[in-house]
Symmetry: C2
Subunit: 386 residues, 2 copies
């Protein structure tokens, strides 16, 4: 694919890998989607400038420290990360994307970061596994994915890595995700493909309703596959499909790894007055603490789904609502279906669960992935610093 990567431990975190490099062997076009949070970390502002210029050669990422709410110092540190990475690799700083994740409001330990960049540059290889580890924070497992498609009959690959696991909510991009491809895609086309892929993946996941200061999804396209350029039409559709598949795969992993989560839950709302209403209802269900704790406990307490639909702001006629847990219908015409408690409980206790609601009003449909909320989430987030 023409990419090298590495992940090292440099001392930002106590023991785990905390600095990653991804390097393209050729100049790559770049596109990105970033947090909508009005408090944006310095590296996000930096990446937005790189993406505006449209070309990148490398990504340097640290975990353990978000470099957010760090003021002028934070901005200087981002610049230095880009400059040092560029210097050691022989690029220009303007071609280096910088990304950070971790605790907010603490200046980056730059000695460690400098050491990390040197170490990581010396360990670049064809494997992305160590880089995928080095970008994690509270994640339980690394998240990588790849698919192959063809452009003009030439196989091209789309790969990626992502991190979760808290502060996950669908307001534009969520989490950190780095995608790479050896397809040849001009930056504006790449941005279009990425925006579509994110709308169907990272904008469809919620763990806790929080939106972080550092959310970043970027894609590099270096053309090393030797395929014709993706400019539009059929080729763009196929490329977008592949990009979406990788982004969805990674997004699902992020939810599955929601802090303390045991289940991946797809909430589907259909029959809404319009798509906007379907989205409102789906998000209300997917973020309700009462629904999420129900999904954790595995009791089919469908009243909580009805209540969430009711306060979602969507148009609702209680007497038309139907609800399914998996394949088991638990509500018909707004009333509980008798004799299905045990079947419904069983449907809720699977590793992958679907909660489907039909509002019976129109054609609006939307879905979102969420997870259950367990004691573990509270344990992890109650003592994050110490």
């Amino acid at each position: 694919m023409g990419y090298l990567a590495s992940g090292v431990h440099c001392g930002i975190k106590q023991h785990k890998r905390d600095l990653a490099l991804v390097v393209s062997e050729a100049p790559a076009s770049v596109a990105g989607v970033f947090t909508t949070n009005r408090v944006k970390a310095a590296p996000v502002l930096w990446c937005q400038e790189v993406v505006r210029r449209g070309t990148a050669r490398a990504v340097v990422v640290n975990s353990g420290n978000a470099n957010a709410c760090t003021g002028e110092q934070g901005w200087q540190d981002v610049r230095e990360m880009a400059e040092r990475t560029a210097a050691v690799l022989g690029f220009s700083a303007e071609e280096v994307l910088v990304s950070s994740t971790g605790v907010i409001g603490v200046p980056l330990p730059m000695e460690a970061v400098r050491r990390g960049i040197e170490l990581a540059a010396a360990k670049l290889s064809r494997s992305g596994e160590e880089a995928a580890e080095a970008i994690l924070t509270t994640d339980a497992f690394p998240k990588t994915s790849a698919v192959v498609t063809t452009v003009g009959e030439v196989p091209v690959t789309v790969g990626g890595m992502a991190k979760g696991a808290g502060m996950i909510h669908p307001r534009l991009a969520t989490t950190l995700c780095f995608l790479t491809t050896d397809a040849l895609v001009p930056a504006p086309v790449l941005q279009e493909a990425l925006s579509r892929a994110v709308a169907a993946s990272f904008n469809r996941i919620t763990v806790d309703g929080d939106t972080s200061t550092n959310d970043t999804v970027v894609v590099l396209a270096n053309g090393r596959a030797g395929a014709p350029a993706v400019e539009g039409g059929e080729a763009l559709e196929r490329f977008t499909e592949a990009l979406t598949a990788v982004a969805q795969d990674l997004a699902r992993m992020v939810v599955r790894d929601g802090e303390g989560a045991q289940r991946l839950v797809q909430v589907v709302v259909e029959g809404a007055a319009d798509e906007r209403d379907a989205q409102r209802a789906a998000l209300a269900i997917a973020t309700s603490l009462l629904v999420k704790t129900m999904l954790h406990g595995g009791e089919p307490n469908w009243g909580r789904v009805m209540a969430a639909v009711g306060y979602s702001g969507a148009e609702v006629d209680e007497r038309r609502v139907a609800v399914w847990f998996g394949d088991v219908q638990v509500v018909r015409n707004g009333l509980g279906v008798g004799g299905v408690f045990h079947q419904a409980a069983e449907a809720l206790r699977r590793e992958e669960v679907t909660v489907r609601v039909d509002l019976g009003l129109g054609d609006g449909r939307w879905w979102v992935w969420t997870c259950d909320l367990g004691e573990e989430y509270v344990r992890i987030n109650g003592s994050y610093i110490t």
Copy 2:
């Protein structure tokens, strides 16, 4: 005060009191504020009709079953509860408020309810303690409050009881709350006073962001104090103040009893561009799972407050933001204040905590009470039915 009350166990719940009566010795004017959830329980619809007529004599309340999402049967059951209560007390059914709280979607066990009404009517007394117990669900303690004020130099009393403890969020009324007074207040004036009291109390509390199908706050005013009628002016101000004091006292108890909560937390946002923005920011902070778990753990991880402010939708200039935990300033000009970790941690570990944010942009100010989120919330809500 001219009110009688009782609370009994009739078998809706396994062991605890589950049916309450409150009876006015004279016809009382009535006002109410109800859930904004589009899925409204049958008793809410019933109460709205009683309030529209403006007069009531009694309130019958059951806990353990919400009589929500119960269709035509639910409506018939409400009517029967009103009729039986009216019959045993010698009133008309149209003067009986009916309220229910508990699990959604299960028909009321009417045999138990009928028995409960008989039992409760036989046990009416001047004490409200047993009634306050009988309206509880997952609450850890009963919630009652009373204050005395004067109207035309005659002392009048405002009393009340409330229940929590989950599905608490400020979208109009929240929870169940029954207020009584021996002041003489015509229904339209009573409604105005109640709306103002609720805006400063039950509309300022959030436990989990969910809004229930059954939220009800009603007030009865029977004029038994012999004071002049409260029609407006100074008398209305004083009466509203007293009503607000009782409502705030009860609302604070509801938050303090938030499922598994250890701390009562007031979130104050000031310096916002306008009041609406202050509300957005305060609610984002007060409902953020990451902030609430931080409040549980007691670590001063102020970045989570910054992140919540950033995604709240309020206008934010990061460089102007200041944050205090109690009296300890932890953020100045958007940056962390050094050397205050231990003081700040101590401020967060009190029983009553203030989180104050100054956005530095204008005069907008709003506040809300919330609580921390602990493992206990998950434990309670993960297995509610069984």
